[in-house]
Assembly symmetry: C2
Homo-oligomer: 212 residues x 2
């Protein structure tokens, strides 16, 4: 489960209290019940840690099947990528914390690879889909959206280009409202929202590239 917090892309992890990998950090998850789908299962286990109503997007990543991935017993895992908007801060239990994806602690099993795969999937989809709706609040200014992109992509993004691209693609629409400027002044920012809040793929594969 990823979220942009304090201007950085962070991942929700909990600390294992049992072997194997005692003390290492782990992505939320657990065993599949007989009568549920994988998605229902991940939502159920996630609900033990956070309020899952905050989850704006959930998609399957990959199923890991290396016989040695769990040293104790044979175990398969299907990894999911979950996204939550920046403006929520769900309560989490004692053993659970947000960690910057750029500075991961020691992770249990193959969870490090999973988290990085989730980050990469997110980065790719920011370029050719409207996934950003799952990271952003309902209403936002372009510069706020820009900060989300910077945090998630890990490189600078021009607010000018971002606005033009997303408006031309019809991903964003203006709300007509504007944000009161802060103490330091400045032109009041126009507010926007995502036209749809379900995943849509842009037919143009054009991309916001890192600056040259």
């Amino acid at each position: 489960m990823l979220q942009v917090r304090d201007g950085r892309l962070q991942v929700l992890l909990w600390q294992r209290a049992r072997e194997p990998f005692l003390g290492a950090w782990s992505a939320p998850g657990g065993y599949l019940e007989q009568d549920e789908t994988l998605e229902q299962s991940i939502r159920r286990h996630l609900a033990d840690k956070v309020d899952v109503r905050e989850l704006e997007h959930l998609e399957q990543l990959e199923t890991l099947s290396d016989p040695g991935r769990n040293p104790r017993e044979r175990e398969l895992a299907t990894a999911y990528l979950g996204l939550a908007p920046t403006d929520v801060d769900p309560a989490v239990p004692e053993d659970t914390r947000w960690h910057a994806v750029s500075r991961l602690p020691e992770l249990a099993f193959d969870h490090r690879a999973i988290v990085l795969a989730g980050r990469d999937r997110l980065r790719a989809k920011l370029s050719y889909t409207n996934v950003a709706f799952a990271l952003a609040p309902l209403v936002f200014s372009i510069s706020e959206l820009r900060e989300l992109y910077v945090a998630a992509l890990g490189h600078e993004v021009s607010a000018t280009n971002l606005q033009r691209v997303l408006l031309r693609r019809g991903v964003l629409e203006p709300t007509g409202e504007r944000r009161e400027p802060g103490r330091s002044g400045g032109r009041p920012a126009a507010l926007y929202r995502f036209r749809t809040r379900r995943l849509e793929i842009t037919d143009q594969f054009a991309v916001l590239r890192p600056p040259a």
Copy 2:
């Protein structure tokens, strides 16, 4: 397992001889052994049907977990996409046949969705990767490659644009050889090969779009 045969994208299916879905067609696969990965397993089961040395590319699609997907018992399945080059024609057993993806027979379980997902994945990746190497022979002319793209994408592709795009991206390289023209004459075609035969992602997401 997909292959372009007779100018159409086709999929290898076998006909079930047992309930459930007796008589319906099914994608190759089977149960996972204790000490193998999913990829090893799919290769093993595929080997029952065809010579798997022909398989040029194999990638995971999705894990299906609907509790009702198998009416008899709870069963998960991880779908894989396999690609074979056009110039091979592996022997297949009696119960196994190639079917045009555009005209699928009645498929068992959720295999119809799996095959279509594989087709869509292939189509997407043809645009921003070099996957076509897995569909093409080692050496080919641009117009032969064009036919593969047409079959897989399901729409016209300009040989001119295809050549320019793939050469500029550095995906193709000329062999220096040329193909003798056929009976009907015509300028001899220059022959090309893929510069690398492992999956590579183009950093430009530009795409061969359907003609307007």
